[in-house]
Symmetry: C2
Subunit: 249 residues, 2 copies
């Protein structure tokens, strides 16, 4: 807890660009970065992977906000989603942290991936909108890189975790689940191999009922049994307080 090596080093390291934070006239303020949390909220709807963005001054930007002392970073991410895009995510996972200079400030940004259910939030309020994750609008370069990396991680993790279920309602058909995989991965998958893998994973439970929609055979419906999910063991056990990392619906 010896807080770092005393001021000597900071002094030698500091650039001549005596940077100021917005509300303080002290030149030493640059030794203290702003901290913000930014969340990449994904949703799958009508065959596309969507990302929630909010209107910035002239461009689009990730939902962001400052954490408070009273909450964990995870809780801050959840709160930010509610405040900015009016959505309650069903899964939240920390992505990465970076230090950067943007918009005149020195900022340390903690990024998150969140997953939401299509159609579950009403129309996005607060100047927010959904965009195709692979066809992003004009946005600042930091946020764009965050979204790109979030998509890489989402694509990787859908293969060996159960996050896909958080993009679907509590009850769903195997074809719907397969569609989520195909949309996220960006390519088709074989129906038989897919169903075998899913069943072998042992995390699905038939609800018993079926759903007819259209002039064809009705689909059996399933629900996700989180209690049989072995994938949750990969997350840090130290969420330091209240919330779980994988909100298991």
């Amino acid at each position: 807890m010896t807080l770092g090596r005393p001021a000597g080093q900071k002094g030698t390291k500091r650039l001549p660009t005596t940077q100021r934070s917005p509300n303080c006239g002290d030149p030493l303020v640059s030794l203290m970065p702003r901290v913000d949390v930014r969340v990449v909220l994904f949703m799958v709807s009508v065959g596309r992977a969507l990302v929630a963005l909010q209107a910035d001054s002239t461009r689009w930007a990730l939902p962001r906000g400052s954490p408070t002392q009273a909450e964990s970073l995870d809780a801050a991410a959840t709160r930010i989603l509610t405040d900015t895009v009016g959505f309650a995510e069903r899964y939240l996972e920390q992505l990465y942290s970076i230090s950067h200079r943007s918009e005149g400030d020195w900022t340390v940004t903690v990024t998150y991936i969140a997953l939401a259910l299509a159609g579950a939030g009403g129309p996005p309020p607060n100047m927010a909108a959904w965009f195709d994750a692979v066809d992003l609008p004009d946005m600042n370069s930091v946020d764009r890189k965050i979204v790109d990396y979030a998509l890489v991680r989402l694509r990787a993790k859908i293969g060996y975790t159960t996050i896909a279920f958080h993009l679907l309602p509590p009850s769903f058909s195997l074809s719907e689940l397969q569609m989520v995989f195909e949309v996220v991965l960006g390519h088709e998958v074989d129906k038989r191999n897919f169903r075998r893998r899913i069943h072998a994973a042992g995390v699905l439970e038939a609800t018993g009922d079926t759903r007819r929609e259209g002039r064809h055979r009705p689909a059996r419906l399933y629900r996700f049994r989180a209690s049989h999910d072995a994938g949750a063991c990969l997350v840090p056990g130290w969420t330091f307080g209240t919330e779980l990392e994988a909100t298991t619906l």
Copy 2:
């Protein structure tokens, strides 16, 4: 993709939390967290996995320090290792970020895993020392959880990445490599299967020479060929500047 929604929201969304930095003498100082970087530096020596800790006031603690505006978080982690334990790591990877209240301050901590070469740093300076990673001394609870989680991640990643090579000198025998795996994983592995896997990975190159030590057959030596390493594709492409995530020796 409809772009350019105007600015109104930013004004309405911003909280009244006029944030101040600690040097302003303002009671609202708590709205601005301290930011620190803490590094779990691992090394494998004489059959044990070791972690570098520095002496705190009364207990042991992770090497830590504050990032500066002029450097990336990765660079801060590297600098902190040099300053606190006098070691240059050979691999660095961000672990996780947390917000916590400890020692009276609100702190956002960005944690890193680092790997070093046994015997490469001389005696640890600055009240630092090496401890068995599975038999930690008295230390604060936050740092202990960080070390525990770092070990979980290290154990997981040694199986599907090439990080193990960063715990060995440039030239090594297969038995030494296997020993590193066994020490990190905490259990023995089959020699033949191990060697087959390593060779199949295609990232090793025989140096051509051998090493005799003891009254038995000399071991062939190998070097790690980072250029044939497919594992580096999993890291974020946005390190925002100078340093690579996997310092490939």
